[in-house]
């Protein structure tokens, strides 16, 4: 995304400099693995090379999901996943006047922002009635929808793609939607999620379902073979977590976990309390804990929205304490939110000390008072401010909180 938009060059988005691999005695081979033979502990590659292993870690990632519709294989239909997709987009962008994006998740929004930055008209089809509707509430989606439309994106909610029309030369001419409309375009961006990349594992004896099945140590059914990242599927995920979580930080955590295990400290994969983040054009989004907009049982929601700016805070809670935070346009401190969720702190107490969780830059406008006022208006309960949110206070809070339960 940032390379396409000229924020960075290709070399800037690579997390390590070139010397990293050799210095850390990692032999980086660029090749395609074609076969795993666990009985001999070898792998074979497309170039004909064979490698012996003691421990094998499968981290092959995912590929974009696609739809079984007419025209899906036409030239001009693309996902946004691999470096090849980026190169393809770059090569197509010059002639591009109009694009249709399918999918109301993060990749869809990023793709929209990318194309928009080159003044390419974008029509965005979202199957649900709002962006990221599995995690955003209706009001939150509303903020995001409005912001995206404000940027000039032609947003179509509750709309699905039915088929892609051929221009007669094997390329995209238009997209037909469930509303019966025919939208002219030269590019279709498919952003409806990802699925683990597994097909090449056939015949290896490694058990797969949606992804490579692993236990809590990220071990597969075959000895000395691990699976991590987008391609892994946990047999027994923790409560509140999914079996397959194709996001950046779980991949990193899984990597760290397996690294510990193969270095002799057998370590369970414990991702802890759910968190995630995104950016919808200019609106930053962060979430911690259970933020399901559809409530179950004794759950309630407290929601505050800024009158004009695209900012909001949603707290999911029960009578036993807070369970989740969802923030648009306001940065929250992960450690503090985690602590509150972990310790099941009551919502009044959380709001009284809300300053502790605010991670906005110095001199930023402060909203905690407004948030407490909103709570008073909604519930009639008056909450007095108990914290200023300065670093030392945050530090002491975390130290104290940790010592009380450990």
């Amino acid at each position: 995304m940032y390379v396409y938009m000229g924020h960075m060059r290709w070399q800037d988005i690579i997390p390590y400099e070139a010397w990293f691999w050799e210095k850390n005695k990692i032999n980086l081979v660029k090749d395609l693995v074609t076969k795993i033979e666990p009985q001999h502990k070898t792998i074979s590659t497309a170039s004909g090379a064979h490698y012996q292993y003691d421990q094998l870690i499968i981290a092959t990632g995912s590929s974009p999901k696609t739809l079984n519709i007419e025209g899906i294989n036409l030239d001009g239909v693309t996902g946004l996943h691999a470096i090849q997709d980026l190169a393809y987009l770059e090569s197509r962008s010059k002639q591009l006047k109009k694009a249709v994006i399918v999918g109301g998740g993060l990749i869809g929004v990023e793709l929209a922002e990318m194309l928009h930055s080159r003044k390419i008209a974008v029509t965005h089809l979202v199957r649900e009635n709002g962006f990221a509707s599995s995690v955003l509430s209706k009001e939150e989606s509303g903020i995001v929808n409005q912001h995206i439309e404000h940027h000039g994106i032609d947003l179509r909610l509750d709309t699905e793609i039915i088929k892609i029309q051929d221009n007669g030369q094997g390329s995209v001419a238009s997209v037909t939607t469930t509303t019966g409309e025919d939208i002219e375009c030269q590019l279709v961006g498919m952003a409806i999620g990802v699925k683990p990349k597994l097909t090449w594992l056939g015949g290896s004896g490694i058990e797969v379902n949606i992804g490579v099945l692993t236990d809590v140590f990220l071990k597969t059914n075959v000895p000395d073979i691990f699976a991590i990242g987008d391609c892994a599927e946990l047999r027994n995920p923790d409560a509140g977590r999914k079996a397959v979580e194709p996001i950046w930080y779980t991949g990193r955590m899984m990597g760290e976990t397996v690294a510990k295990t193969i270095c002799g400290i057998e370590t369970k994969y414990q991702p802890g309390i759910w968190f995630n983040s995104a950016k919808f054009f200019d609106i930053e989004y962060q979430s911690y804990g259970d933020i399901n907009p559809i409530l179950s049982g004794n759950q309630s929601i407290f929601f505050w929205k800024h009158k004009i700016a695209s900012k909001s805070i949603r707290i999911n809670y029960t009578l036993n304490g807070v369970i989740g935070f969802s923030a648009l346009g306001i940065r929250l401190r992960q450690n503090v939110c985690h602590q509150w969720i972990h310790d099941k702190i009551m919502i009044e107490e959380v709001l009284a000390q809300f300053e502790l969780a605010v991670f906005d830059a110095e001199f930023s406008k402060k909203y905690a008072d407004k948030i407490r006022n909103a709570y008073f208006e909604q519930t009639g309960k008056l909450i007095l401010k108990k914290a200023n949110g300065r670093y030392d206070q945050v530090y002491r809070f975390l130290k104290k909180a940790k010592s009380t339960y450990t």
């Binding site: 940032y2 000229g6 960075m8 800037d12 690579i14 930053e284 830059a361 030392d392 002491r396």
Partner: protein, 450 residues
């Protein structure tokens, strides 16, 4: 959707956004102003002064108008779109021309002021055009430093306006930028000039030794000592800055209180230099060079000042094989002129905006050492939210590989960090925050990831 890995990869954006008609208009006004200035320099009479005034006004209007037009439709939030594909900001032909031009100006300024029209028997050319302004402010004809001061201040003010527009909605950046604009206009330019008019010893009160390397030079000490109460106050103030004020402020806020809030070099880098910040090399190799170079300059500055003070007290100019006059000449030439001026600013479009501050400034070196070991300042990483996108490292003007720390959940405590806060501003995930705290001062670098 099936794509093969042998696809020929062209990842460099082939797109450069053009500029709108309005923006073209502003640029045209700027060029008219520029050429009016060129014509003005070639002759001197009332028309020349009028032309120069018109030129400066037109250029100012052009820069301000362009900035407003450029960011008018942009919502709060930072867009660095196509920074790497514009000729100006990607070491293209435009940036080379600009670099040569600025470098050339600095060489004339430092070594050939006569070419700019400086003359004992009455100025000519560019400098003479500033005589009326100089006469008006301080009852003296202009010299090359007066002209430089006017241009420098204008650059900070005008590109400051551009910066304020670009980072609208970000109050840290707004307040910080108003601060550097204020200190340049009042402390670096107006106060010293007005003091000169009043026949008082003049001094840029915020320009601290060793950045102000001539503070302990004999002529400067003599000037202050013979300058009455105000002179003595300035002498005391200068020393108090070094020994008391600066250490205290650096303890509380890190070196940013100076480098990105007050300092003139920093002020220019943050405003006029902002479009080039991403050109700073953030490799490990560059960091190694930086540490040798900047601390080398610091040692040079300490040695030079020590010798100069020794000479001042004892009237001996030779210590062992070192001649204090020769050493201070060398320092002035290589560090004062070549490094901080010609390279420091001239190379903005090629090596980023903080070449001097990062590799050369002895003041930054001292503040940096304190910041690294004894300051409450750090950049906090927000748990595990980093997605390793690389914006922070790319847009760090000091070439710090911020991501290296952020993706490990580690706080950033680096001697070179000037606390400009751009890493936190460009972070798309709200991962970084500039903070001051004393409770964990000696464990600021500890991994805090959960």
């Amino acid at each position: 959707m099936i794509r093969f890995p042998d696809y020929s990869l062209s990842l460099t954006p082939t797109y450069t956004p053009g500029i709108s008609l309005t923006q073209k208009l502003w640029v045209t006004i700027g060029f008219i102003g520029f050429f009016a200035g060129v014509i003005a320099i070639s002759g001197y009479d009332h028309a020349g002064v009028f032309l120069l005034t018109a030129s400066l006004i037109l250029i100012s209007i052009s820069i301000a108008g362009f900035s407003f037009s450029l960011y008018h439709h942009q919502k709060s939030g930072i867009k660095n779109n196509y920074t790497w594909s514009r000729s100006l900001s990607n070491r293209g032909i435009v940036s080379w021309v600009l670099a040569l031009w600025i470098t050339g100006l600095y060489i004339l300024l430092y070594f050939f002021p006569n070419a700019l029209g400086l003359s004992e028997s009455g100025n000519t050319g560019l400098i003479r055009l500033f005589d009326p302004l100089s006469e008006w402010i301080k009852h003296k004809p202009a010299n090359q430093w007066f002209v430089y001061g006017v241009f420098y201040t204008l650059a900070i003010l005008l590109f400051g306006v551009k910066f304020l527009r670009k980072y609208k909605g970000n109050r840290y950046q707004q307040i910080r930028t108003v601060s550097v604009m204020f200190f340049q206009l009042c402390f670096a330019f107006l106060i010293p000039e007005i003091l000169e008019r009043l026949n008082q010893p003049s001094m840029d009160l915020k320009n601290m030794w060793p950045l102000n390397y001539y503070f302990f030079f004999d002529w400067h000490l003599d000037k202050l000592r013979s300058g009455g109460t105000l002179g003595l106050f300035m002498l005391g103030w200068g020393i108090a800055m070094i020994l008391i004020i600066s250490p205290i402020l650096t303890y509380f806020f890190g070196k940013r209180w100076y480098c990105s809030w007050v300092c003139g070099c920093g002020g220019l880098a943050e405003t006029a230099g902002d479009p080039f910040r991403h050109l700073s090399d953030n490799s490990l190799k560059a960091w190694k060079i930086e540490r040798w170079l900047i601390h080398g300059v610091l040692v040079f500055a300490l040695l030079m000042t020590g010798l100069v003070v020794y000479t001042y007290i004892t009237a001996h100019s030779n210590i062992l094989f070192l001649n204090s006059y020769a050493i201070r000449e060398w320092y002035g030439f290589f560090i004062g002129a070549i490094f901080s001026g010609v390279i420091g600013v001239g190379f903005y479009p090629l090596m980023g905006s903080r070449v001097w501050c990062r590799f050369g400034c002895p003041m930054a070196a001292i503040l940096g050492l304190q910041q690294r070991f004894f300051s409450r300042f750090r950049i906090t990483t927000n748990g595990g939210q980093c997605i390793s996108c690389g914006n922070c490292s790319t847009y760090c003007e000091m070439g710090i590989d911020v991501r290296h720390y952020a993706q490990r959940g580690q706080n950033i405590v680096r001697a070179s960090c000037v606390g400009c806060g751009i890493c936190a501003s460009v972070c798309p995930r709200g991962v970084l925050k500039l903070e001051n705290g004393q409770v964990d001062l000696f464990e600021r670098t500890e991994v805090n990831i959960k």
